[in-house]
Symmetry: C2
Subunit: 206 residues, 2 copies
DNA sequence: GTCTATACGAAGATAGAC
DNA sequence: GTCTATCTTCGTATAGAC
């Protein structure tokens, strides 16, 4: 779920469309508190009204800063991700390293995988919805980043060169997302070890 | 999403708990028609009321056969999967073959990936819910089946033996699930080719 | 600009009539 | 076994107080 190496910049897709009219500071505050709610109670009570009550405002107040519940949830996920990831943290790391690191952190936050999966499901429903735009962009960005790392690793002789970096990038993201789900349902599926077994598969064949 | 090699038998988890009091025949009829609704209109209108209207009954009538909307949806997915997969079809196939085949079929049914992802998300919410029980069992069953195939392939020298079959099984399922999602969001991510690039990674190293 | 109050329709679920 | 009626909660929209 997490592979946010390049989350630089403000929310482009989920913010208020181009204007600052809705109070950026207060908006951030709401997001911070919403994340706390998730951290404490998992993904339960994530109704608009539930979140509003937990924060201490009316549900209509939330809609003053976010156009819809879906947009709020996407912003919450995006915000949580940006708090965690710094571009610098992941510099000069291998594709697999970045992936494993992000996955382990993500899995440590209760409700995060559930939130992520719920939003991904919503993103499949229709084009142009907040979650659809967000995840389309996100997947593309992460695949590109990983493919770049893989290409460099191939050039350096650290990854076998008989596979397409773009394919492997998509495969890695898919594996990470899917394994987090399986681990949550069955903790005996060891997330870290299993993901790292990818390293064996990617090692040069020579 | 699909990897239903061993869907033999009646719905164990999602059925009416042990009794036949709710009319098995009518129940099957409802499921058949519900699947048609999905096939025609995707995952839209999947509210209890929407499905009921499409079928031509009241929503309360559906709840006579299924305890909740979630249980109905799980039963729909399970039923759709069982219609598609026959144990015989996949005999003597490689793990990757089975996976690719099932994924391609699954992706061909509108709304199926969305339904699957939605239910998986719901399954993460709490233990003991219909979707949680269903998917916990399902993942375990599929991992076991794939691991068995992989072990046989290793013995036959068709798959490298320096990796753990259980790990690879989990990895394969995760990759298949995740790729179907990515493909739906961005069709340029070629599902079949990408999944099959796994074959290169799994080939014996000798 | 920020927020509360309120209303509306749709949803899942239950109770009870037929 | 199936319906209608009803309850509660939800997302959303609007009006208007401060």
């Amino acid at each position: 779920m997490p592979n946010e190496e390049l989350s630089a910049g403000r929310s482009a897709v989920v913010g208020h469309a181009g204007s600052y009219s809705k109070g950026v500071a207060r908006r951030q505050e709401i997001l911070d508190r919403a994340i706390e709610v998730f951290r404490e109670r998992g993904a339960d009570g994530t109704s608009l009204r539930g979140i509003a009550t937990a924060i201490g405002v009316s549900h209509a107040a939330l809609l003053h800063y976010f156009d819809s519940r879906e947009q709020l949830l996407v912003a919450v996920y995006e915000h949580a991700e940006s708090l965690r990831d710094t571009a610098k943290t992941y510099q000069d790391r291998s594709a697999l390293d970045v992936l494993v690191k992000a996955a382990m952190i993500n899995v440590g936050v209760p409700g995060m995988v559930e939130l992520y999966t719920t939003l991904v499901a919503a993103s499949l429903a229709a084009e142009g919805t907040p979650s659809n735009v967000f995840f389309s962009d996100r997947f593309a960005r992460i695949r590109k980043d990983l493919a770049g790392r893989l290409t460099a690793e191939q050039a350096a002789g650290r990854v076998r060169d008989d596979v397409d970096p773009d394919d492997i990038a998509a495969l890695l993201v898919a594996a990470s997302d899917g394994l987090q789900i399986q681990w949550l349902l069955e903790p005996s599926v060891e997330l870290e070890r299993t993901l790292e077994s990818f390293a064996v598969l990617l090692a040069p064949t020579s």
